[in-house]
Structures are given as C-alpha cells and as structure tokens.
C-alpha cells in the first residue's frame, strides 16, 4: 500500500515536471499528494492498530541478484504515519500557500519526489535501498532548498546542506558496510543475526551518530539546519524540520535499537550528553536569532536533543537490564517525535502565513498581528505553548514522561550514569525554560504590541486551506496533550518490538501512570478541565460581583508623548538579559554600541556579534584545512603530459609495494 503511494508520488512528480507552468498543476500536485499521503497514513495506522499484517516485499530492482527489499514493521509503520500525516497537512497548506509562488516549476516537481524519498527510506529493508532512498530524499530536499537560489545567502545554505548531506550518507554507508560484514549480506534481516566484535559495534554507532545525527541536527552537526530549513518555501521547511529530521531519528533507532540491539553504557552516556548539549545550544541559538524561520529551525535542534536524551536513556536502561524503564524512556522519545512533528509543522505553517502577510522574516518588522490575523494568532499561540512544554498541551506530556524516566536513573548500576543523568535532567529543564522564553518572544514580538512597519499594519489573514491545516494541527496538539495515554498506546507496539520484556499496555486513556500510582500520575484531561472550570468560575464571579464598566484610552506613555512603535521592546531587546547571562559565555555574544559625536547627524548603532562554537571550532578549521590542501594540490593541474604519466607510474609502483607488503 505504502509502496503504491510512493509510486503515485513519483508519477505526480513526473507530471509536475511537464505541467509545472500551468495554473492548475498546483492544485493537482498538492491535492494528489494530500490524498496519497492520506491513503498512506490510513495504511500505517491500520498496521499500528493491528488490522493489516506487515510484510516484506522483494523487487528485482537495484543491485543484481539482491533486489530491493521493502518491509513494514511496527517501527516503520509509526514513522510512516508521521511522514504521511505531515505530507497530508503540508500539501493541504500548500494548496493555498503555493498560490503565491513566483516560480512553481522550481518547487512542484521536487515536492512529491521529496515525499516519496522519505517514505522509501522508512520502508527500505536492505542497506542498498536504504542508502539510495536516503540520498534521493537528500537531493530532492536540496533542490527545494535551492528553490529561491537567487536570494542572497540561499546558495551558500544549499552548498553547506549538500556537503553535510553527502557527508552523512557517506558515514551511513560506512556504518552499513560494517554491519553487512565480510560476506556482504545487505538485507536488514541478515544484519540482525550478524556477530560483531565490540569495537565494530562502537564504530557502527559512531558512524550512525555522524550520519543520522547530521541529518537530524545533533550538535555539533547542526550548523546547516538554521541555514537550509528557512531557505525553502514554508511548507517544505515544515516538512524538513517536522518530518525529515524524524526520518533521521528513524535511521538511528533502526540501526541502533533494531540492527545492533543496544549498546554499552558508555555509548549511552555519549548520546545523553550530545542530546543535552543539543537541547541547550539549540534553544540558545533560537533565542538569539531574529529571523522567525531561523528561530524555528534552531528550536528543531533543541527538540531533536530532547529526543536523543530519551533514546540515550533508553539505551542506558537497556544496558543495565531494566527493560521496563528502557521502554518508558523510548516511549517518551517516540512520543516527543510525534509531538514535535505536530507543533513544528504548525509553527512553520504559521511562520509562512506571517511571512506572506508582512513580506518580512525579521521579527522586528512585525507586531500587532493578533488584530489583523486572528485565526493564525490563535493557532500559533497554541503551537508556541505546546513547544514550550506547558500543560495541558502535548509538549509537556512527552517531557513529563521523559522526566519520570530520568528519575529512575539511580537504579542503574554504573556510577558514571547515576551521577551524570541528573545533570542531563538539569539541561533538559533549562532547555524547557529557555524554550518558554524563546516562544514568548516569538509570539510577543510578532503578534502583540503595535505594528512596527506599514506592511505589518496592513497585514491580512491567509487563505482557508492554510488556516484549515493550522487549525487541525492546533487541535491535534491539544488532543495529544489532553489524552496522552491514547498516543502512548499507539506507540506501545513499536516499543515492545524493539525492547524485549517491556511492560504490558496500561489501557489507561485518562491518566498516565509510568511506574505506579504512588510514584507519579498525570492526567492531562483533568488538568485541562480544572483550568477551564477555574477560569470559567473566576470570570463568572467577576461578572457577577465586579463592575463591568470599561473605558478605552491611550496607553500610558510615561509622560513622553509621540510614542513611536519602535520604542517597544523588540526581538533583540527582549532577549538582552538572557543573552548577557548565557550568551556571553556559550555563544561569545558581544554587544557594541556606536554613539556618534555631538553634532554628528548619523544615527547611533547597536550591534550584536554571535559565534557558534561548533562552526568556529570544527567547521571553519576543517574548511580552512581543505582549502589549504586544495591549494597545495593546485600545482598538479598545470603539469605536462610527461609529468602526469610519471605520476601514474610512481603511484602504481607505490600500490604494488603496498600489495607486496600486505601479502
């Protein structure tokens, strides 16, 4: 079924190549993608519900005598549901949003291909098909990143992305090569049985961390996310941030949990620390940016960090032979994967709407949009509250389960884990608190206050398709938060297949009880009802008791009339205290104020310089090194044919010598 969907995506892609110029092509392509995605979603859900059996299909494609293996199991069904669900809503949103596309032929053909690539990665059941689909997905998304290639900085974003993507695929290639072993068994089913030395396991884990981590945006391989994700059209940004990073998480879970079957506790500790670092560094960078789409891309790094904390915790519990706790941590990670797909798509859709309405991506060019775009404002507010992990929304539910898993860590046997997991918990709490500040800033500066530019004052609400997609996602955020038990029940089968000996399903939809009633309970629906009733009661009492008189007047101007909208707190000033506290040390934030001399008519200027430690510490030295080596080798370009032949000869002798010594 899902393979049929892939085929339809590819056909749509081919059609789009031919008809992209036509006005109706947009509706056909996006409408077709939405319907196809819906069919894929239904088939994934029916597998998760246990009504359709999975299976393995082998097609005579790809490598001769091996063929292309595809399989559906509970893990791929869960991620298929996320990919296809994201595809449905992004396509629905794009039916309206794509109307304003200036060059649809740069987007339409690649969009269905991108969806097909992500679906194929999740379905692939042998290394060759997996890598081919992975590269296909990367290239299709790269083409979408380059859709507006004439915009300044986009070409560089595309360049960094393609380098990182190729590097990631290369690392995965090495990982699968080691998994396949000397007899070259490419199918996942035979890799599971393979017997490897511990150092081989460690190398495989390292390569998968590099390959999947670079796609997911794990620190320090996150530098391309804030460049590439915002460059694409907003519905593609939503897919890249909300769904493609999840495909990378899938690759990690598939290899480490399924094919390797767990790791040692040292590796789990490394993953935990990387997750914690990603969570904090991601949200700090999100706080520093003023570009609304860059903020969202950086916050993806944060959420991927949270997911990896859950995965690392699960591996740690697995190595300590505590399957029930390992299952709890893995459920938290997968639950957060689901939640992040929901609210990050919602936020990118909202950002697209705002960018379209105001014509700017800079927060400091917005303001007061809550009056002009009321529906978008409500949806985005729900998304902001959900990603800030506030109860009773879904972001809180998954972080709560994760914190419960962290609290079980003292039962682990290793001291290294015992002592460091609470510190990772501290990083998690810090990132949640900073995310709250980050999204207050995003919503407050863009939607509240007074408009800062004439365009913002004239902004208009977006079309119904976009609003429908956003409203659906906002509703899903509330439902998943109020009934977290329902989602965890859906994840349960996947978790049980990955971790042998996990707990039986709870069968509770109203409240979450991770371990026992004495330890901790959380009922999203009760909290939701309590808050509703309490606010209703207070509002009703206030109406009965209090005076209902209301007078509109000008805001208090502190005695300085002529209050310009620029006097408001902006994106930069809001974050100044946090920048001084955290940014100075971690991001090397430097503020410089330039005051013109008295009598000089130049405006005073204020500048903030930020440096990404990963970019400065790793990527720039590497790129400098590569450039240096390339310049040294440059002389080899201008030799005579005699010298070239001499080089070939010397190299041949060298290789023969190596061969002679080897044998």
């Amino acid at each position: 079924m899902s393979l049929v969907c892939c085929a339809i995506f590819l056909v749509l892609s081919a059609c789009a190549v031919v008809f992209a110029g036509q006005a109706w092509a947009r509706v056909i392509v996006y409408g077709g993608c939405a319907l196809t995605g819906f069919a894929g979603l239904l088939s994934a859900l029916s597998y998760l519900a246990g009504t359709t059996p999975g299976g393995e299909w082998i097609f005579p494609l790809g490598l001769p005598w091996i063929g292309a293996h595809f399989a559906v199991d509970s893990l791929s069904a869960f991620f298929l549901a996320i990919v296809n669900g994201g595809a449905v809503l992004a396509s629905l949103y794009a039916i309206g949003y794509g109307r304003h596309e200036s060059a649809p032929w740069r987007v339409l053909p690649f969009y269905p291909a991108f969806l097909a690539g992500m679906t194929l990665v999740v379905l692939a059941a042998d290394a060759f098909t997996f890598l081919l689909s992975w590269e296909f997905m990367s290239l299709a998304s790269w083409a979408l990143v380059m859709a507006y290639h004439r915009v300044r900085d986009n070409a560089q974003a595309g360049y960094v992305y393609i380098v990182m993507a190729s590097f990631g695929t290369f690392a995965l290639l090495l990982a699968f090569g080691m998994l396949a072993g000397p007899d070259g068994s490419y199918a996942f089913s035979s890799m599971r049985e393979g017997i490897r030395a511990p150092w081989q396991d460690a190398m495989i884990l390292l390569f998968v961390l590099l390959g999947a981590g670079s796609k997911a945006g794990l620190v320090p391989l996150h530098v391309w996310l804030p460049l590439a994700h915002p460059a694409a059209p907003s519905h593609v940004s939503a897919l890249m941030s909300g769904v493609m990073t999840k495909v990378a998480v899938y690759a990690f879970v598939r290899v480490v949990f399924d094919l390797l079957g767990g790791t040692g506790w040292e590796a789990a500790l490394v993953i935990l620390v990387l997750g914690g670092a990603s969570a904090v560094l991601g949200v700090l960078q999100a706080l520093m940016h003023t570009d609304i789409k860059k903020i969202l891309a950086c916050s993806t790094v944060e959420n991927i960090g949270i997911v990896f904390i859950g995965l690392g915790l699960s591996l740690a519990f697995q190595s300590g032979h505590m399957p029930a706790m390992a299952a709890l941590a893995l459920s938290a990670a997968l639950f957060h994967v689901f939640n992040h797909a929901l609210f990050k798509s919602l936020l990118f859709f909202g950002a697209g709407a705002v960018v379209h309405a105001t014509g700017a991506r800079d927060l400091d060019k917005m303001g007061g949009l809550i009056h002009r775009m009321p529906v978008t404002a409500v949806c985005l507010l729900i998304g902001c509250a959900a990603i800030s992990s506030l109860p009773p929304l879904n972001g809180f539910a998954s972080e709560w389960v994760l914190l419960q898993a962290i609290l079980q860590s003292p039962a682990l046997p290793e001291w290294g884990l015992k002592v460091s997991i609470p510190a990772v918990g501290c990083l998690l709490a810090l990132s949640a608190a900073l995310a709250g500040a980050c999204f207050v800033r995003l919503f407050g500066v863009a939607f509240l206050g007074r408009p800062r530019t004439p365009q913002a004052a004239q902004a208009h609400e977006v079309d119904r398709f976009s609003l429908g997609a956003m409203a659906f996602l906002a509703l899903a955020c509330i439902l998943a938060g109020v009934m977290p038990g329902l989602i965890l029940e859906g994840i349960h089968g996947t978790v049980q297949d990955l971790i042998a000996g996990g707990p039986a399903p709870q069968g509770r939809w109203l409240s979450l009880v991770p371990v026992s009633e004495d330890r901790s309970t959380y009922s999203g629906v009760l909290v939701f009802v309590f808050v509703l009733v309490a606010s209703g009661v207070t509002a009703l009492l206030a109406r009965r008791v209090a005076s209902s008189a209301l007078r509109r007047g000008p805001a208090w101007d502190c005695g300085f009339p002529g209050n310009s909208p620029l006097f408001q707190y902006g994106a930069g000033s809001f974050v100044q205290p946090i920048r001084r506290v955290f940014g100075a040390r971690i991001l090397h934030a430097r503020e410089s104020v330039e005051m013109p001399d008295p009598g000089d008519l130049r405006p005073a200027s204020f500048r903030v310089d930020l440096r990404d430690p990963a970019w400065e510490g790793i990527f720039l030295p590497i790129s400098r090194g590569v450039r240096g080596v390339a310049e040294r080798c440059n002389i080899a370009q201008f030799l005579t044919i005699r010298k070239y032949l001499g080089l070939v000869f010397v190299f041949l002798v060298f290789l023969l010598g190596v061969l002679a010594l080897w044998t």
Binding site: L390, P422, L532, A542, R552, A555, C558
Partner: protein, 320 residues
Amino acid sequence: MDVTLGTITLQAIQSAAVLGLAPLLVGFVRKIKAQILRRQGASVFQPWRDLVRLLRKEVVLAENASWLFRAAPYLILALTWVSASLIPVFATNLPFSGAGDLIVIVALLASARFVLTLAGMDIGTSFGGIGSSREAMIGAMAEPAMMMVIFTLALIAGSTQISHMAEIMASSQIGLRVSIGLALVALMMVALAENARIPVDNPSTHLELTMVHEAMVLEYSGRHLAMIELAAALKLLLYVSLISCLFTPWGLADAQTEGWMAFLAGGMFWIVKLLGAGVALAVFETSIAKMRVFRVPDFLGAALMLGLLATLLLFVSRGL
C-alpha cells in the same frame, strides 16, 4: 484513591481556603514588616479591601489591547488556583491530587508565567516589555533550579506524587540529610525569585529600573488588576504551603482514612506554619537590600548549583 462526597467536600474547602487566605497572608507579611519598622501598619484585611475596591472600579483599557490582554488575568488566576489546589495543605490524598504531581504544579506555574509575560507585551509599551524580558530571564533560571530541587526530593522519597512525598518526608525513615538542607535553601531562593520578593524584586516599588512584576502589570486596572493581585497572593501562599508540606509535613491528615478532628488539627497546623513563614519572610525582607537585576542570575545560579549539589550528594551521603 476513593472519591467520595466527603473527600470532594474537603477538596472544595481547600480550594476555597487557599483563595481566601492568600490575601490575608500578604496582609500579615506587610503588617509584620511595618511593625519591625516601628510603624503601625495597615490591617491584615487591607489586601482584601483593596481587591474589593478594585473589583468595583471601571477598567481602563489601552486602545490597542487585544483579547489576550483581557483573558490573561482570568487564565493566570485559574492556573495558579489549580496548582494551589493540588498541594496538600492540611490533608493528603485529596481527590485532585491524582491529576498531577509536583512537576505538573511547577509547569502550571510556568504556564501562568507564559501568559503573564505575553500580556506584558500586548500593549506595546517599554514598561511591559522590560518587565516581560526580565521575568523571562528569571524564569529561565528559576525553573531549572526548581527542577533540581524536585529531583532531589523525588529521589529521596522515590516519588513525585506530592501527597506521597509529604507522607514519606513525615515518616521517620528519612532522617536528616545534607541534601535536604541544600534543597530547602535552593527552594527558598527560588520561592523569593518566583514571588518577586526582595532581594530579587520589590513588590512595593514603582521605580522603573527595579521593577519586574509590577512593570508587566502596569497597564492593568479594575477587575483585571484584582485578578492579577489575587493570583500573585495565591502564588506566595502556594510556595509557602509547598515548602511547609515538603519540609515540615507535620500535622497533615490523610483524607482517605482520618476523621474531622484530624482535618481541623491539620488546618490549625497549616495556619501556624503560614504565620511562621510570614514572620520569617518579613524579617528577611527588612534585613536585606534589593539587588541589581544583573545580580539576579548569580543568585538563581547559586540556587541551581545548590539543587544540583543536593542531587549529587544524595549518592555519596548517608542519612543520619
């Protein structure tokens, strides 16, 4: 946990009691502070009188205020009220307590802060912005510190369910531990910051350079301001009750098994603890000066480190 008419009544009594007593606690602290400064001081009932007067006044709303600005006071009060209802103040195992644990209580307060900081930015004046910006910084430091305190206590008690934690802390199996002391100090520092008390913020100031909480709510008036003030008073009561139920859990009755006399005694104990905390807060506030805004991160960073130290010491220390 049984939900009977009796326990529901108890829960209703608690929810009403926290709301009714919160302004009295604020009034009591003010009275004691005035007494220490050799002033007569206003009556303990003055905050309630202020609230009633505010309710009777008309609301003056800025021209560009949105629906969020008008809905925020009710939402903030509701979120604070729900979290205050989850804390066992005089009886444990009340019917609401299963709805959420200590982490949920803290997260509900974070939600209230989220709404309040947004409301501060709605009018678009510098005052609201400066308040929201500083509140966001304080929250970003205070919440992780609070979480570390929760970690410490949860690891000691083996639970985050607050009724259960209080029962374990009350039992003799815990004993005195260094970690509990460190966690208590950290929690008190967080409580001072969260409630905008000296030395982090001054609840009675109107000087723009020192304001945090008052700057955010500057544009509020009438019934909206009444809701905000009531929520602020409720938050103070909530933190005092939280500290007392975790660190001095004496006299708490069990709602499932015990009778009315125990509840009455629990109520008396609670009021005595509130009075004690009120006196302590007043003495502390009169004996210390407010610190600069950019010293607050050091203060809260110390709380965070104390919390982290408390957690780590759990693994190496032994109970006495």
